[in-house]
């Protein structure tokens, strides 16, 4: 097991280099550079000040040199500062000479996106296991048909469209739910309980939208997995020895169906992070997705590359944790690894 862990961790090094190479060169596909868009906002910018800017960010050096300078910095977790006028650090807070602390952009945004997606994953898990089991146990009867239809519609519905309709219906027509941001005005002055209630209300719509796609695919997965396993010999044995059907379904079949889910969750991380762009833009939530979208429009290279890198690193770690969790939960896999 330890050998396996070390091997997996070592594999991440070439993966990380590959990821950094791809994200770095994609950023430089663009015609024009940051100096062009910055001077467009400021007509007084002279050619000389543009040159200075290029020198400051090494944009005047050859691509490979730029890349190695960048790589040297990110190994030390230094993702630089934003090109935007506030010049905040991309990753983590720094202190300047006067002792003023400026908070990192990803430091601010990541917890928000993680919170929404983790709550979303819990919702997905709870609901899709329920839907999948009901569907499998009632195979080809009306509950199964109904759930299958819901699942297919869930796959096909554009999240941003549903978000728009829900926002209009629950927020504008009926004023049941707040439709943007994470906190109401006056959040700081509320009691603790009121703060949680306020946050909860703000989270309902974004979490529902972000868990939609996963809900559909995982309940379909649970259904098909259950159907597969219910046909296996050990289920027949369990039934033959007179176990109540409840125990057969939940004790034997469901437990075996859920094992591979650990891996699937690991694989769904990049989709969840990527999917946060549209949801966060619609609901005006300043998480990773919105930060990335704004940075892309501004051609804010350090922020774009920082988020691409951090997002990919998160994915790699997510997959690693999923694989370890799988090995921990399933003795067959564990034995396969140590042999």
């Amino acid at each position: 097991m330890l050998n396996y862990l070390i091997k997996r961790l070592l594999w991440m090094i070439p993966m990380l280099i590959g990821i950094s190479l791809i994200s770095f060169f994609i950023m430089h596909l663009a015609p024009g550079d940051i100096t062009a868009s910055e001077s467009a906002f400021n007509p007084k910018a002279s050619e000389e000040s543009r040159q200075k800017l290029r020198a400051l960010y090494n944009l005047d050096k050859p691509l490979m040199t730029q890349y190695s300078l960048w790589l040297k910095r990110i190994v030390k977790l230094d993702f630089g500062n934003s090109f935007a006028s506030h010049q905040r650090p991309v990753l983590w807070e720094t202190k300047d000479a006067k002792g003023n602390v400026s908070k990192g952009m990803i430091q601010d945004a990541l917890p928000i996106t993680l919170m929404i997606n983790l709550i979303g994953l819990l919702v997905i898990f709870a609901l899709s296991i329920f839907l999948g089991v009901v569907s499998a146990v009632n195979q080809n009867r009306w509950p199964d048909r109904l759930i299958t239809i819901i699942v297919f519609v869930g796959f096909a519905i554009p999240g941003f469209w549903l978000a728009l309709l829900l926002m209009y219906w629950t927020g504008v027509t009926h004023s049941w739910l707040p439709i943007s941001g994470l906190h109401s005005a006056g959040y700081e002055k509320m009691s603790h309980i009121a703060q949680y209630v306020d946050l909860f209300k703000h989270l309902i719509l974004p979490v529902s939208i972000s868990s939609l796609g996963g809900l559909a695919s995982i309940s379909l997965y649970v259904r098909n997995g259950m159907l597969d396993i219910l046909q296996q010999d050990f289920i027949t044995t369990a039934r033959a020895k007179g176990l109540p059907e409840n125990k057969v379904i939940y004790g034997h079949a469901l437990r075996n169906t859920l094992l591979p889910l650990i891996t699937i969750i690991g694989l769904s991380i990049p989709g969840l992070i990527g999917g946060s762009v549209i949801g966060e833009s619609i609901f005006a939530i300043s998480g990773m997705g919105k930060l990335f979208f704004d940075a892309v429009l501004m051609r804010d290279f350090p922020v774009v590359m920082g988020i691409l890198t951090i997002g990919s690193v998160l994915t790699l770690f997510g997959n690693l944790i999923a694989d370890i969790g799988y090995a921990w939960a399933d003795p067959r896999i564990r034995r396969g690894i140590s042999n």
Binding site: A30, G274, V277
Partner: protein, 275 residues
């Protein structure tokens, strides 16, 4: 084909897709108005007999714009998936056929591409290049081939040592012949299924990009950008938001139903599940 008509899900998927195809091909003849004709005397009219789906903020007929928009989602779906399938099949075939270090290199590259959040990658490239329909199709294609590569490789690995392949090899068939005449035709099922499902997700991605303003640019209409325009008027012109969303939903549903139906029909492993 006979079996396809007996599977109600696949059949309804096929009907939807054929309808969308028909609408897209004959859009200019089916449209009652010029989709880009701006009429300031009929701004934001609700649906009626003269405008089935009402008019938008510039007085353009939404029904005609929807019909023309179907061409965009069809084009994006087919071209993007065409690119992804070509790259995916090529790399997967090479990896599965030659195995060894070529396989390792290709599959590690797949792993790397899979760990970069795809939508971030697409967004970055689109925003850096100019957003145009061709850029969108190419970028979606270049970021969605990894699944096909894995499928084709797995299929090739399992076929590689079958007797009919070994026999062909012993008779002196070239690598090219082995791959194109023997291995590929026997791996078509998963490729077809994943292509059909891939079109569904390409259509969704394109509409998402258009919604963010990075997709198909005005005056060309796509379902995504009709929806974006409609967002501004959602309080008093529901028809601008409802119809394009429904169109995307139904089209994507069609591809998904057809894809899953084909999987059930063509995949012998699934037979024991279906009665």
């Amino acid at each position: 084909m006979k079996n396809l008509t007996q599977n109600p899900l696949a059949l309804s998927g096929l009907i939807i897709i054929v309808t969308v195809l028909f609408v897209a091909i004959f859009a200019p003849w089916l449209s009652p108005y010029d989709p880009n004709y701006i009429d300031i005397h009929s701004i934001l009219l609700p649906p009626s007999y003269s405008h089935f789906m009402g008019t938008d903020g510039l007085g353009r007929d939404v029904f005609s714009r929807m019909l023309h928009g179907s061409r965009i989602s069809l084009l994006v779906g087919f071209v993007a998936v065409g690119i992804a399938t070509l790259i995916g099949t090529f790399l997967g075939a090479i990896a599965g056929f030659y195995r060894g270090y070529i396989d390792s290199i290709i599959m590690r590259f797949v792993d790397i591409m899979l760990s970069i959040p795809t939508f971030f990658l697409i967004l970055a490239v689109i925003a850096f290049l100019t957003p145009s329909i061709w850029n969108i199709m190419i970028v979606i294609g270049l970021t969605s081939w990894m699944g096909v590569t894995r499928l084709v490789r797995a299929e090739f690995l399992s076929l590689r040592n079958r007797e009919f392949i070994l026999a062909a090899e012993a008779m002196g068939a070239s690598d090219y012949r082995l791959i194109y005449k023997h291995l590929l035709p026997n791996s078509l099922t998963p490729i077809i299924v994943s292509s059909v499902l891939g079109i569904a997700s390409a259509v969704l991605t394109e509409s998402g990009l258009s919604f963010l303003g990075l997709g198909v640019q005005a005056p060309q209409s796509s379902w995504g950008n009709i929806l974006t325009d409609g967002k501004e008027y959602i309080q008093f012109a529901w028809w601008l938001s409802l119809f394009p969303g429904l169109a995307i939903l139904v089209t994507v549903l069609g591809y998904n139903l057809l894809g899953e139906g084909l999987r059930d029909l063509l995949d012998p492993k699934n037979k024991n599940q279906k009665k």
